[in-house]
């Protein structure tokens, strides 16, 4: 119900800029990890970020909910600049769902509690209501029958789907995925991608760092190619994969398409 509500809202105002990165720079010591990044993600859009390891994809993703700070430039969500710290920052993060490569489910809480924690503690939702919402979301990602188990009792693919449900429970405006299938055994990748494709179809705004070309081709509106901390190329998936413009992208695609 909730994600649908967000999706409906999104569908009502599609195409408006939702996340805007403007001249964003970041260093890790002497490493210039993000270089003058310009990126706009519009409402309802699915942007796939692709690029060699170490090119700054995770860092980029993490600046959008300020898990990483930036040195220069600005990031706005729905027109508002990201707050620097404190309660305002916490409120902002509640609007941005994040799915990590390593799932990061709360190890001491059941699957159901993992999903209800945010709604009850951050949104002040009543437990009964949060339980109902969580069960709906868990059903939707296909792990409803695992609600009372602990994360370690689930397979990686199941854990990642719970992580998606946990993020959705906050009714986020945008979802960030940082290599959500990279830690999964091959046979579990599809079940997670299927959930993500569904989400994309329902109009969720998504930023997805992934090397899954199949996902990019079916679900992405745009592919952003990064190398050495910079956005080198931006295009539709079809154009990007069949006709990459930059030498870096051609080289990279040559390597990953070989197998």
């Amino acid at each position: 119900m909730t994600a649908e509500a967000t999706a409906a809202e999104t569908a009502a105002r599609p195409g408006e800029p939702l996340v805007v990165l403007d001249h964003v720079d970041k260093h890790f010591g002497s490493l210039h990890v993000l270089q003058d990044i310009e990126l706009t993600v519009n409402r309802g859009e699915v942007v796939v970020v692709i690029g060699p390891s170490g090119s700054g994809k995770s860092t980029l993703c993490r600046t959008i909910n300020r898990l990483e700070t930036i040195d220069d430039g600005s990031i706005t969500l729905d027109g508002e600049p990201l707050p620097a710290e404190g309660k305002a920052l916490a409120r902002l993060r509640a609007e941005v769902g994040m799915v990590f490569q390593s799932f990061n489910l709360f190890a001491h809480k059941t699957i159901l509690e993992n999903v209800t924690l945010g709604p009850t503690k951050v949104r002040g939702m009543k437990k009964a209501e949060a339980d109902k919402l969580a069960k709906e979301l868990l059903d939707r990602v296909g792990v409803g029958h695992q609600a009372d188990k602990y994360p370690a009792q689930l397979s990686g693919g199941q854990q990642q789907r719970v992580a998606i449900a946990r993020a959705l429970a906050m009714q986020p405006k945008v979802m960030l995925f940082d290599e959500p299938t990279s830690a999964l055994d091959p046979e579990m990748i599809k079940e997670v991608l299927d959930v993500m494709v569904d989400l994309a179809k329902q109009g969720m705004t998504m930023v997805v760092v992934t090397h899954e070309m199949g996902f990019a081709r079916t679900a992405a509106d745009r592919v952003v190619f990064m190398a050495d901390g910079a956005i080198v190329e931006e295009n539709t998936p079809e154009e990007f994969f069949t006709n990459p413009q930059s030498a870096r992208a051609q080289d990279f695609l040559g390597k990953i398409l070989k197998h």
Partner: protein, 216 residues
Amino acid sequence: MGPVIDNLDLYWSGFLQSLEFILWCLVGSLLVGTVMAAFRVSPVPSLRALAVAYVNVFRNTPLTIVLFFMAFGLPELGINQSYFFFAALGLILYTGAFVCEALRSGVNAVPAGQAEAARALGLTFTQSMRQVILPQAFRSAIPPLGSVQIAMFKNSAVAGAFGIGGDLYSVGKTLTSARGYDYVPVLTGVAIGYLIITLTAAALLTLLERKVAIVR
């Protein structure tokens, strides 16, 4: 064991008094240590500095000096309380420093992704600590926390020497010096009293550890 059998009621009341003292110190030191551990890892520099100073002072000062200060220093500063209170305060502050360090190692054992996931959901620092980090830190810190608390049980006898009054230590002292009983049987009785407390605690700890273990 004649003296023990003859004075079982005295031992029993001493045992209860020691137990009460220990329970106060247990709760107090866990509270103080938890708050200080949260300060220690907080993003606020002044809170971190406070926690570091606290741990450094109380972990590196001999317990007897801490107790002397409480029992004789605080009254000179115009703070008047019972010796029970002063001794408990001293032992709480002393033990709290070790609790803080045990918990901090527990916090460090919680994978960084747990805190990130909590923050990404929109939990504030305090909420992340209470809901996600500390519950896991406590679980992995149970063995060191257990050692710290068992050391505290035994240190309560030192506090007893400062005059909690009516505890196991003073029972031993009364029976030997005022009533002239032999040391060995009297102190054996005292030791048994402490052993009952520590061994029970150790058994409870093992149960607790099994019950709350986290599988990752």
